[in-house]
Symmetry: C2
Subunit: 368 residues, 2 copies
């Protein structure tokens, strides 16, 4: 598969110090949406509360005429319709998804792109069929190394016209938990989540879970398409090729207690006992704990973290911590750690604003 | 019912010329979401594509313990659970909803609040029971004038702590098409759309369709609560009491043709015939037509507007217009008119950024 020509047109911009969000960023923010943090309360996130990031337009796909082709370095190219996929063995798996750009708009200086704060996450139950047996049926060439997944969504990105395509290593594509899914939370996939079929690769940031999937290409050379080689890289400057963004870093989020002010989103609550609660996850390694600070990060207390669900190792996990709210201003901070380390308390900046898992800070005012 | 004390704390701000979107506006934009304009293609908008505006937090309501009370100037106060409501005659109605703040972020200068561009709309099928017979069963006092609807959503707005409450005139509350609804598109209401019960008052902007409804108060004096007297007013300056925002002004939207650039959302298409399409609506008077200009507003052509559905007079209506795209840059403009007038081509500014139905302009580049 040839890579599209990559140009530097529209190289991503970094905002000037103090520069407000632009109309381009706003146009993305009003189309795409995050999880309102109070929705951390639902084990499974309903559509409309689960985050959505669409690079181009949501394509109009007719499920009756839609086909998935499996092609490239295979012995027997396949063309599958939705009935053929649904007739295969099916699996339902609860998986945390997070956009690689989550936290971008909290970076200073701010990389100009989809301006997520903290909310580009969601937990859904995905139903589909394992990918590996489909690849096996097509007969993988012994020299296969990567698999490219193409969606029906079409657009332009930094001068490159493309159908959204992401490459995945053969090893990841052959994991038994990588799924081709047609249902979310027991219902047919909604248009914005990839109807009629999307890929789910548990543990990876959202860019890997290709939506509106139409084509699977088995490659004998590493994939060099835009979404792997140009975008989704940890770059410090524009000419740095950067390391690829892969699995989800650890994060804990707090459902902010009390009630908000409409405009400032400042939080208020009454004094007394409060059960602080939220969710935590990591896609790269098992979680080892969640800690909460109620004094802006000076002292930390271990939260009660729900046990991992062996059947759903990539689901988010609930945590709680009782707190006695006393009148005054407080800054609540929460951090998760996994076997590879804890969330940073200082930002780790990169030019595309990828994977910023800086700890969440929630200022609250406890009334007299 | 006593009005809460209205203070001027946090009087809404108007942005300085050229001032970017603030983090406060962004925090609202990432929580709430609009309809990506390509979703104008669906007659009925799925949850997650239908716009949502939540003033405070989405409340956690247990449907089993939830009750609706009907109280105030009635002979027989009622307490109804969900089963009692569902046992009543049910009606399904397709209704266009639009946020009163739609178009706010396109105003210059920009009122600082939820920064909608054009996308705060949606079309859903709402199932519920007519409100008027519930009020009749409670026995309206002969001196009733208004009805106040209170939701479970709690927060602070310009210094006023409140459960979201909107008043409606008795005449509007007694309309046979005003509904207490528990289902959206044939499914139980999603949390963000008001589960377990919301009000639907066809033709009115979104603020009237109170979500998470818990209480209906019949009043013998005009309602003077925050959401009617302070907010949702057409004000030119901060001390102007302003006229109330009521029914939806006419608007047509075009599903932008071609494909977008990810960041700029600029549109590109290939030359040749294109069927321009979109939707149009008005909540205040019957639509009389939709016109399209493909030259930035110099010349206009009548679009083919689908007939009104007599069973769903407040549904949106599809429109189409064939266009031959020739290479170059073009500005597509669309405007609807109803029996009271057409959409404005120059902005009509007001301080809260309410009901800005300025025509949509879509620049497109047709490739060679």
């Amino acid at each position: 598969m040839d890579a599209p020509p990559v140009t530097t047109r529209g190289r991503p911009r970094v905002a000037e110090p103090g520069e407000g969000i632009g109309l381009d960023e706003l146009a993305l923010a009003t189309r795409n949406h995050g999880l309102p943090l109070e929705a951390l309360r639902y084990d499974v996130t309903p559509p409309g509360l689960h985050y959505v990031l669409t690079h181009y337009d949501i394509p109009a796909v007719d499920p009756a005429s839609w086909r998935l082709t499996v092609t490239g370095a295979v012995d027997r190219p396949l063309t599958l319709d939705l009935d053929a996929l649904r007739a295969r063995p099916s699996v339902t798996s609860r998986v945390l998804l997070e956009c690689a750009g989550n936290g971008r708009a909290r970076l200073e200086p701010r990389p100009v792109s989809q301006p997520w704060l903290l909310e580009a996450v969601g937990s859904a139950e995905w139903t589909g069929t394992p990918l590996a047996p489909v690849l096996a049926e097509a007969g993988l060439s012994p020299d296969a190394v990567d698999v490219a997944f193409t969606g029906a969504d079409h657009g332009l990105e930094r001068g490159v016209e493309q159908d959204y395509t992401r490459g995945l290593s053969l090893a990841e594509a052959l994991r038994e938990d990588a799924l081709l899914v047609w249902a979310m939370n027991g219902q047919p996939l909604p248009p914005q989540h990839g109807a009629p079929l999307r890929l789910v690769v548990p543990g990876w940031y959202g860019m890997a879970h290709v939506k509106w999937l139409t084509r699977i290409d088995v490659l004998t050379e590493p994939f060099t398409g835009y979404q792997n080689v140009t975008s989704y890289r940890f770059k410090v400057d524009a000419d740095d090729p950067g390391e690829p963004v892969t699995r989800i870093r650890p994060r804990a989020l707090l459902a902010p207690p009390g009630w908000p002010d409409f405009m400032s989103r400042e939080r208020f609550l009454r004094p007394g006992p409060v059960l602080l609660s939220g969710r935590a996850w990591s896609g790269r390694a098992p979680l080892t704990g969640v800690e909460v600070s109620c004094d802006g990060g000076t002292t930390w207390t271990a939260a009660d973290l729900a046990p991992a669900d062996p059947g759903n190792p990539y689901a988010w996990r609930a945590w709680t911590l009782p707190w006695t709210a006393r009148p005054g201003s407080h800054i609540l901070v929460v951090r998760a750690a996994d076997a590879e380390g804890a969330q940073p308390t200082e930002q780790e900046w990169n030019r595309q604003g990828m994977a910023n898992n800086l700890v969440q800070r929630v200022p609250v005012t406890v009334l007299d």
